[in-house]
Structure formats: C-alpha cells, structure tokens
Homo-oligomer: 325 residues x 3
Amino acid sequence: RIMRPDDANIAGNVHGGTILKMIEEAGAIISTRHCNSQDGEPCVAALARVERTDFLSPMCIGEVANVSAEITYTSRHSVEVQVNVMSENILTGAKKVTNKATLWYVPLSLKNVNKVLEVPPIQYARKEQEDEGKKRYEEQKLDRLETKQRNGDVILPVINPEPHTVGYSQSSLIHLVGPSDCTLLGFVHGGVTMKLMDEVAGIVAARHCKTNIVTASVDAINFHEKIKKGCVITVSGRMTFTSNKSMEIEVFVDADPFVDEPRERYRAVSAFFTYVSLSKEGKPLPVPQLLTETEDEKRRFEEGKGRYLQTKAKRQAQMQQSAQQ
Amino acid sequence: RIMRPDDANIAGNVHGGTILKMIEEAGAIISTRHCNSQDGEPCVAALARVERTDFLSPMCIGEVANVSAEITYTSRHSVEVQVNVMSENILTGAKKVTNKATLWYVPLSLKNVNKVLEVPPIQYARKEQEDEGKKRYEEQKLDRLETKQRNGDVILPVINPEPHTVGYSQSSLIHLVGPSDCTLLGFVHGGVTMKLMDEVAGIVAARHCKTNIVTASVDAINFHEKIKKGCVITVSGRMTFTSNKSMEIEVFVDADPFVDEPRERYRAVSAFFTYVSLSKEGKPLPVPQLLTETEDEKRRFEEGKGRYLQTKAKRQAQMQQSAQQ
Amino acid sequence: RIMRPDDANIAGNVHGGTILKMIEEAGAIISTRHCNSQDGEPCVAALARVERTDFLSPMCIGEVANVSAEITYTSRHSVEVQVNVMSENILTGAKKVTNKATLWYVPLSLKNVNKVLEVPPIQYARKEQEDEGKKRYEEQKLDRLETKQRNGDVILPVINPEPHTVGYSQSSLIHLVGPSDCTLLGFVHGGVTMKLMDEVAGIVAARHCKTNIVTASVDAINFHEKIKKGCVITVSGRMTFTSNKSMEIEVFVDADPFVDEPRERYRAVSAFFTYVSLSKEGKPLPVPQLLTETEDEKRRFEEGKGRYLQTKAKRQAQMQQSAQQ
C-alpha cells in the first residue's frame, strides 16, 4: 500500500512500527491460512516471537510497500514465516529491500483459545532446509525460555532529571485496546503491540538527542502473554545504552485487565530497539552519551554494550563470509 | 489485508465503500507505476472514472481481501485498469469473487498539476484486445461529456417529512480534507471520495427501510473536478427510485475551498448507488416503495426505473449469452 | 456519520472524546468559513475555548450522529458557535439530543500565524440576542484570564499506591503529533486534544471503579497555547473528587517541542471531566470514595466538592425555572 503522511515522522521517514505492523499482518494471514489448510478444528495463528530485524533502508511517504511472506519451517505446534518488505518508488521505479523478518506463530483453537493445535507439515525442496529450520526452531525455543525470567523489572519515575540521564528521556503511554486492534479471538495483534512499542522507543530516542531519529533494528521479541480486548496497556521505554552513533532502548508492555477480570497487571512483552539519529541530509549523526547514575543503570549499560559488540562482530563475520563467496 | 470491525456495518458486512477504496488504491499504484515507466516528466495517475461495478458477494469481518490489478488499455492520455477483488476466508480456505471493477486514470505532471502527460503504450497479446479497448475508451468518453451537463442539481432540506418520501431519508455529511486523504499532488484520492459517498448512500438506504442494507452496485462515476487539501466537502444523498427489492440513491459531492481560494463551492462528483435490504439470514427483503411528491421527484423516479430496466435487460442478455456458450 | 466499534468502549457507548472531536470539527468549519466570507486576508479559525458541556444521553455503535452548528455571536476578534449533536437510531428512527456545546474561535492569519484578524459581524434577529451574546463574551473572557494562573501544577508519580487513592488511578499518555492531527496552519485541532484528554480521564475513572464508565460532563476548557506539528504531548489525569455517583478528574496537557525548537515544555490545556459508572443495564452505580492523603489532595477534593455543589444548585435552579414556565 501507499505510505501516507500519517505513517511517517515529520522528516518523511516511515515509522519502523508501521512496517513491523505490516510484516506481522502478512505473517498472520499466511500462517492462519496454512494451519487451516487441512480439515480439523478452525484456528487463528497467534504471534509467539519475532526474530531480530534490521531496517536496511528507510521508506518514505508516497512510496509503495510490497510485502511478501513465505512459510519456511513448521514444527509440531509452530510455524516459521519469512517476510520481506520492499519499498518501491513508483515515480522512478526504484526498489529497495527495507526489511527481512522471521516470525513464529502458534495456532490457537477458535473454540478454546487455550488449546494449541497441530500444524500441518510443509514439504521441503531439500533435506538441509528442514535441518536448518529445526536448528532455528531449537535456538528460538531456548531464547524464549530465557527471556521469561528477565521480565520482573519496572520503570520507576524520576523527578527533575538531568539532561541525557536515563530518567530524562524515559517515557510511557497508555492505550485502551479497541476492537480494531484485535484478532478474531479477541486478542491484540502482535503488530499493533510492536507499533506502540516503536512509538514509545522513538519518543525516548528523540527526547535524548533532539533530532530526527529512525529505527535501525529491533532485537528478538517474545510474546509470552496474550492481551485481551478491553485491557489498558502501558508501554514504557528507557534508554539502556549509547554507542557513538546509536541508542538502545528497552521497552516494556504491561497489560491491565481492569474491567470484568480478577487478574492483576502483568508483563506481556519486552524488547530492545536500536535507533540512529539522522541529519537533514539523512547522514548518521553522533549521539550524546547516556549518563548512567545508579548501579542498575551501569549494569544495563554494560549489558547493552555486550549486545552491541556481539551484533557488530556478527555483522562483520557475515560481511567477511559474503566477501569470500 | 484482513477486514476489521471498523470496515463493516453492525451485521458484519464490509462496507462497499471500503472495497471501493481498496480498488482505487490498487488502480492508482499500477497506473502511476506504468505512466512513470519511461524516462520523462514524473507524474501521478489521477482517477478520472470508475465504470459501473457490481458487488457480487458480501465480504465479512475477519476475511482477507485479495486485490489484483492489470492494465487493459492505454489511449494517448489515459489508462484503463481492471481490478479484481476476491474475499478469502483463511479459516475455511473458501474464496469468492467480490468485485470486478474498471477504472480510468489520467497522468498529471508532478510539477504542473494542470498538465496531462502522455501514457506509454502497452503491448496487446491479440489485435482484438486493442480494438475492444478502443471501443470502451470511446464509449466512456461520450458518457463523461454527458454527465458534465447534469451536475447543477442541489438537495434542499425538508421539514417534518412523511415516512418513505424522498425528504424522509435524504442525508448529508461534511468532511474536512486532511493530509492522509490526499495524493502526492495534494488532491483527494478518488477512493476516499467513493468511501464517503457509500457512507451517505448507506445512511439514506437504512433510513428508508430500517433494516440491514448492503451495496449492490455503483453506476459509473466521473471525477470531473479535483478536490484540494484543506477543502470542506459536503456529501449529500437522496433516494431516486425503488424496485421491489432494491433502492437507487443519487449522491452528490460538493467541494468548498473555503480558505486561501477565491473559488466558489463546486460540484466535484455525482453518482448512483444501488442498495438491497437483507434479513438476518442474509436473504433479500422487500423494500418499502418510495413516495414521490414533486414533479422533479416523479421524473427522477422514472429515470431511475429506466436505468433499472436497462441494467436488468443487459444482465439477462449476458446470462443468455453465457448459457448458450 | 455512523458510529463505529472503534468510537466506543466495550459496552458499546461512544466515547465522549469522539463526540467532542466531531463538535470541534463542525465549529472549526463554520467559523473558518464565516471569517473568510469577506474579501481580505485568508485565515483559519482556532479554538480558544469550549464552555461547560453536559452529555445528556449516551450514543451507541451503529447510530448516526447529526451535528449542526450555528454562529450565535461575534466580537471584534472572536466567534461564538453553538453546536448541537443528536443521536439517531436509523433502524427505529428514534432521535435524542446528546450534546449542546458552545465554542469560541479566533481567526488566525494563514500567512502569519501570530496575527489575529477581525471577524465580520453577524446580523442579529433581535437586539437582545446581541446583548446576551456580549454578556457571554465578557464572562468567558474573565474566566480565561483566571485559569491562566492556575496552570502550574504537575502530576507526580506515586510508587505502590493503595486502592482508591489519587495515586492509584492517575494515568498519563504521550502522543506524537502527526499531520492528521493538525489544521492547515500546522497546529493541533482542539478536538484532537479533547479526544486524548477524554481518553486519559476515562482510564483514570475506570481504574478507580473498575466498571463501565461514561463521560457525564466537561467543564469549560481554555486553549491558551497552541501545539505545533511534531511536538510530543503528555496528557495526564488524576482524580480530584468523588460524590456518591460521580467522579471528577483533572486533566493536563503538556507540549514538548523537542525537535528543532529552543522552547521548553509548557502547559497547553487543562480541564475537569466528570464521569459516572454504569451497570450492565445502563443504571448509575455508586462510586468508591476517593481516599485523599496529602494536604493538596484534601484541598483539591474540597474545591471539587465546591464545583459539584455549584453545578447541582445551578441545575436545580434551571429545572425550577423551566417548571415555572
């Protein structure tokens, strides 16, 4: 579809969150279709996880987004979908790859939302494809278990923070979940949640560096808990790490089933977003260093640095590999 | 994309206007891409006309709309696009054709919006395709000239109207044109206009028969005049004709460039929409007859009857033809 | 226009904020049109103030909102607009008055946004209408000056609050101002701001009493400061007073022009919203009493009580008056 002014920031760059929402909708369609392709209980595919995603090139207002999706692996209870997004300037004909994302879906029964159904197996062109898929499946399963631990943290408010401290840029928004945010099962689309997360992360980044900022990448996101229609969700973000030219922001989503439910507020999702700051000509700008004050902030900064260096090393290894080929 | 609650009426049927808007967006993308495919002045394709469109089967919330578009004819200054819409129930896999629409676009220069550019010619697989296209082109050109005359009429308000008279159900809405309604040239997307027209026509139909109603067809719509960002548009509808099971509603769109422009309010578009009334089981219901009072109303009723009988005759001829094949 | 699922809460009642937004759009159109009716500098009417508004009856999904607006007074630099909203059930034909609102607009030059232009005078049917209008004009002018003082307060966060305290239900959201939120001058529509304010107030009310809640009334709102495109706005609300069956919530809007502007965060608007809690049958429910802890909270509670008793007395006086007529 054509990108509109509402999809973009004032510099004309389409929000990463808009793109993540399109990716998730494409993934939900293809995996729901696949899981219902054999006779049996009707089901809806729910997003369980999005792998780390890099935003390779910016998309602008007036360009057309082409989204294509393909099922690349199925386990007994989950589907791996590969989604590619291309931006196309229909005036010049120029096309660029914007994103390559990998998503994991789980089929939930339409009659009983707590029942996970079986996934019809796909055919692989080559045996190695199945083996590689299985490896990816095992890896993400492990990672999902790990993040389930980490979720207890909360963002506490800070009074009169100094510029460039963590408290200075931290932000949160609340959103009442409406019918258009939800799937047929009455749960929030993963894509809607990711769009709100990107919105908060973007505001944190902009408050920190006061320039035009764009999403550079999103770390793997696990959707441990569903969010029901009528909930109030609180999305909060704080900066955890800055390198010379990038900022890492941790985002939490808490759901508050405050009407008609005996349940307490709970952590539904958390993730790390990386942003860069751009000049008017679209060149990356230096980022003011994050000032850490408490022990926790210093620890999180070091952890963020670890993730940053690891990603950098991986990217260099990939570049070397492709140079050798 | 997946149809959401906001795309549909309270019975769960997707609004005809939502479908028309998707059709027009697909048409605008493919024709803008084509018109810029050769080096030359960059341009944006503007909707000039939509041919008569029948809604063949209803689409529901939760279904996926598949929209495909193809260029079927080019004249020197215009492009004919054929757009097909299929509804797909991704739970059952059932697919149905919802619409087949034909749209005409004209390339306007991005630098000078009043300059119509030349269209790169397409290749035809067979000579007859070109001849048939040319015939369609000549026909629609004639029809466009004719409707340009008819546009002077206005809808006057009626105090305390009797049930089932024209005044009883006539309706109007105003809309302030915002940035997301507009193309790169700053003019309202034809699809946005059609969506508003369908909304008003639907209110007229529902007021008349007080049941669940759905769009059955839209007569050819000509877009004589562009509407600029910042205009206020007034969309008004009145019933012109009822058969036993259908209602015809005439809709006018007037634009009011009330800021920054010396220009008077003008008629931008007009069209006829046909609605049917459905029972809870989705069966067509009888429609209360329209009570005409004035001479003008009686004349319009007869003209509507003429269109109704003509369409019916055409459809029977087509069915006979396909039965013979 | 027809009320959609997204316009309403899960009980099907249309949000007060949606209605306020429609009212403001109608007011902005009629006053901009009036101010441009004589030759002269083109201008856009900006909302300066909304008088106290009562929500007389709820509106539901599927109903049609009829909004009508009329200019009732003009001073040299401002326009008073009266807007009426009726809800119409198009299936039964039943109509009910939902709102009567009075709004004040000021014409700002399209070329120089800081220049207030002169308003063409209107003709009054009777001399008394002009005198009464002048009286209303003077009264609101006084009130606008007063509220300008009061605006320094901030809502501080509370850690681990007890149920039914002020800290327990206080809420805030951030919103990045996008193009669709803005007028031709690039400033946020007053209606967009009011919709966000109602959203936060509604969440505060729902968090306090954990039932289905609806907007009962909004106190006069003054728009002292414009908010520009690209700003981040923080909307925060806290409960100030509860009677047996109503809750008063104070809402602040702060604007943060964080990109490309040397200016600090500033208070743009503040207002009091009153909510009631409804049972599933739509009957008013008793509201848990607000627990005040600090001196400030106790003071605000007493002030809220004062407003509540004053409004109650006014309403009773009006009812007596109309009983006598």
